[in-house]
């Protein structure tokens, strides 16, 4: 029974990844303009012969359908192809850049969680609640680019607390991670606060309190769990926010990583890299959703024993 459920899940996941790959391929083929012309840049002196040679080298002179089937075939065997622009295997390009992005993303999540928990727990009184609401709104609505520049200006250019540029150890990670963490912390904190409020109104709170449960245990045993349910649901949103965030933050702070190559690949119409990134993002989303589904029953006793 479990195996069958797992298989169905896996099939569904494969369909999602295939769909993402196909859509990305279709979009990249449908957008106007020749990929070789785009790659060469706006006023390249390259002659038509040279352009044709490049099209030939990249297999772009073949019919679209055979390009598509060839691409899927290679994808199944794990071959992501060679970057048009960087002239390196896409797998190498991505693995070279993955580490810094994962570090940045993890650091951002940790910072966001800590900030959100601190703020939401601290903001239990009427005045602190107002302050928290304001801070959350600010964090949520400030564009990452602006936040990053502001942080740089204050903490790097003027106070010299942190280095301006990336790739120089843990200290260089702080400002970019905070830049990315702030909007996530804003939304998490809002959710947590309303989750705690909702838990407060639940009958089990009254009964637990009647049994003489202290506020600390009440929070750790009941409210924290209850209040964090909507946060888990939002994980996919956070993933998206992180992916988008890296594009801006890596560019701004001069860090290497997936966001920076994503931007480069899209502007230069580097099809194999764009496709690989789309597939990778699809895989990550699918995996994250699977994990979230698995986590629900652990957090909410009401879901245990039900087949999802």
């Amino acid at each position: 029974m479990l195996l069958r459920r797992l298989l169905i899940r896996l099939m569904g996941a494969l369909v999602v990844v295939w769909g993402a790959a196909t859509l990305a391929f279709a979009v990249l083929k449908l957008v106007p303009g020749d990929p070789v012309d785009v790659m060469l840049g706006v006023n390249s002196t390259a002659s038509e012969d040279v352009r044709q040679q490049i099209r030939n080298d990249l297999g772009l002179d073949q019919p679209v359908i055979s390009q598509y089937l060839g691409y899927l075939g290679r994808l199944v065997t794990g071959d992501l192809g060679t970057s048009y622009r960087l002239q390196k295997p896409v797998a190498t390009v991505i693995t070279e850049q993955l580490g810094p992005t994962i570090t940045l993303a993890l650091a951002s999540i940790v910072i966001a969680l800590v900030l959100a928990i601190v703020v939401s727990v601290a903001a239990r009184g009427p005045i602190t609640r107002r302050i928290a609401e304001l801070l959350e709104l600010l964090a949520l609505s400030s564009p990452g680019f602006w936040t990053g520049l502001l942080l740089l200006t204050i903490f790097s250019f003027n106070l010299h607390w942190f280095p301006v540029t990336g790739g120089q150890g843990a200290r260089a990670l702080v400002l970019p991670a905070v830049t990315m963490a702030l909007p996530i912390a804003g939304i998490l904190s809002q959710l947590l606060r309303s989750g705690f409020d909702a838990a407060e109104r639940e009958p089990f709170t009254t009964s637990a309190r009647a049994r003489g449960l202290g506020p600390v245990r009440m929070f750790t045993r009941h409210h924290a769990r209850h209040g964090s349910l909507p946060v888990v649901t939002l994980t996919a949103y956070i993933m998206g926010s992180l992916l988008g965030g890296t594009v801006i933050v890596e560019q701004l702070f001069g860090r290497r990583g997936i966001g920076r190559i994503t931007l480069d690949a899209i502007t230069n119409r580097d099809l194999p890299v764009v496709m690989a990134l789309v597939v990778m993002a699809a895989v990550v989303f699918v995996v994250v959703n699977l994990i979230v589904d698995a986590l629900y029953p652990l957090l909410d006793a009401r879901l245990r024993g039900r087949s999802v």
Partner: protein
């Protein structure tokens, strides 16, 4: 070549400067780098872009490839900033009377950093690689003469001849660039397919620097080539690079590059925004260089082959109707000069200074010209009409960013609205932009092009080269003759005279409207000495030193 980056985040820089304004106390004035050059230390440079996938200089046409890899690849000849040519890897050269054979006597004491000897065979291997069909060279093959190039011949071990099918006067200029720099023949033979991706064992030349590492998206580290004694004859310092390490760090945001300089993380910051440059210039702790780029200024190309702008009177009305002086002054704050000719003033042996001041802003004249052209009616918006057609011009652009050029465009739009012309700048996705460009489906289009030779005018005006680079679709037999003659003449004076004729014709005809002279703004901390730039306006790293020794 290629467009200067269109992603100059203008608004950002402005915000950052407003915020930074109060920072950083100035240090006492001192002579940059002291008086005596010193070896050792690390020099870190903040650059806008990186040569990702562009390490094969024989293929790439990117500015960034030529400027960042200059220290690795030597050339046969060197062009000094006055436009003269000097011996480099070639001790001397001789041009045959018919202009068809260039014979170079090579240095016999040069080795590539992988131990390969430099000789006539090496030169031939390089040029054969440039023109090979499967190399698919995007730029170098045109610098070596394109269809005018015939072959390279090994005369003896240290003598090599380039044979041409027809005279090609810009050849020496092409040979002086990084694009025709010498790559180790061993790498060309064994690792041709890896040249573009590059790397320490692949990107191998004979220059004063050796590539130690390249981390995409982050930095490139260069170390001195201790054996190097063969720098260009016109350089002060011709030996190995002085710093122990040269770190080129890639920081796409202009305000971040400036901030990295003031916080001491980089010693040199290039491609600064005018705003940042002014702040650094006023700070005695930094030295600022503003290097004008030669070649084609940033210009508005007016489509001669399409709709309204086929009428020369309307083109002239546009030229006189926009207030270039105040727009360029406002946007670039005096750091970029407005252009008067279709060549930049630093383009050697060709710039026509007599055009300066000859076509100032004149709203009345613009109105008069449009009246004469028959655009006499007005619609409810005040835009001129003729036979039911609205005087509306479209200007596609490949960037949606609110950069400095968008602000210039706004100013021009406002100016032209006053004389009843509607100029619509339309941001398009790059692919759609290229389709519009190649199809000739536009009235106005813009770019600039760095090249230290007047031959750039042939690329932009010769009738057979529309729309790239002849984006104005100029088709004039007289102009074709002048630019062809100039490209074939071996007499510099004759070439200069022909290019001056072309420049005057271009202003009379309004082939295109030159707007400003692109300028590379570079700032360095005062512990950096020997900061110079090449004729393209790009910073060079072969002369620098630092007094900050750790």
């Amino acid at each position: 070549m290629s467009l200067r980056s269109r992603v100059a985040r203008w608004a950002t820089a402005t915000v950052a400067i407003a915020l930074v304004a109060a920072g950083c106390a100035p240090a006492a004035t001192e002579t940059p780098g002291g008086t005596e050059p010193v070896a050792g230390g690390t020099v870190t440079v903040g650059l806008e872009s990186e040569p990702a996938g562009q390490f094969n200089v024989h293929v790439s046409g990117a500015d960034v490839a030529a400027s960042t890899l200059r220290g690795i690849f030597d050339s046969l000849v060197s062009q000094s900033n006055d436009g003269e040519f000097h011996p480099w890897l070639a001790r001397s050269w001789d041009i045959s009377d018919d202009g068809l054979t260039y014979t170079f006597e090579l240095r016999d004491d040069v080795t590539f950093t992988d131990g390969e000897p430099f000789n006539a065979e090496a030169v031939k291997a390089n040029f054969d690689h440039v023109v090979a069909k499967d190399t698919a060279s995007q730029y170098a093959s045109s610098l070596i003469g394109g269809s005018a190039y015939d072959s390279t011949e090994v005369v003896d071990e240290y003598t090599v001849s380039i044979h041409l099918k027809r005279p090609f006067a810009p050849l020496l200029q092409g040979l002086s660039t990084t694009y025709l720099g010498m790559i180790s023949p061993k790498v060309i033979e064994t690792s041709k397919d890896q040249l573009a991706a590059g790397g320490p064992d692949i990107t191998v030349g004979s220059g004063p620097y050796v590539l130690q590492s390249y981390v995409a998206g982050q930095e490139m580290v260069l170390v001195p080539n201790p054996d190097h004694t063969w720098g260009p004859e016109d350089a002060d310092h011709t030996g190995a690079a002085r710093p122990d390490r040269l770190v080129l760090r890639f920081l796409p945001e202009p305000s971040v590059r400036a901030g990295a300089l003031t916080s001491g993380e980089v010693d040199i910051a290039s491609n600064l925004s005018p705003n940042d440059a002014i702040n650094l210039e006023n700070d005695p702790a930094y030295q600022l260089q503003a290097n004008e780029n030669p070649g084609l200024p940033w210009s508005l190309f007016l489509n001669h082959d399409h709709g309204i702008l086929t009428d020369a009177k309307v083109r002239e009305a546009l030229m006189r109707g926009i207030d270039i002086d105040s727009a360029v002054q406002t946007v670039y704050q005096g750091k970029y000069q407005r252009a008067w000719s279709i060549l930049g003033p630093t383009t050697p042996n060709s710039y026509d200074a007599s055009l300066e001041g000859t076509w100032p802003h004149d709203e009345d004249l613009a109105n008069q010209l449009l009246d004469e052209a028959g655009w006499t009616e007005r619609d409810s918006d005040g835009i001129r009409m003729k036979d039911g057609e609205r005087l509306s011009l479209n200007w596609p652009t490949a960037t949606a960013a609110r950069d400095a050029r968008a602000i210039l465009a706004d100013a021009f739009q406002a100016d032209l609205k006053k004389v009843g012309v509607d100029l619509a700048r339309e941001p398009l996705e790059v692919g759609a932009y290229l389709q519009a460009l190649q199809g000739g489906d536009y009235d106005v289009i813009d770019w600039s092009f760095v090249r230290s030779d007047g031959d750039i005018l042939r690329l932009h005006l010769f009738s057979g080269l529309a729309p790239i680079q002849n984006a104005s679709w100029v088709n004039d037999p007289q102009v074709d003759e002048w630019v062809t003659q100039a490209s074939e003449s071996s007499d510099p004076a004759e070439r200069a005279e022909l290019y001056q004729k072309v420049q005057q014709w271009a202003i009379d005809d309004v082939a295109f409207i030159p707007v400003y002279v692109p300028t590379t703004l570079v700032a360095a901390a005062n512990h950096i000495g020997g900061l110079t730039h090449d004729i393209s306006g790009w910073p060079r790293y072969d002369q620098i030193w630092t007094t900050k020794q750790q």
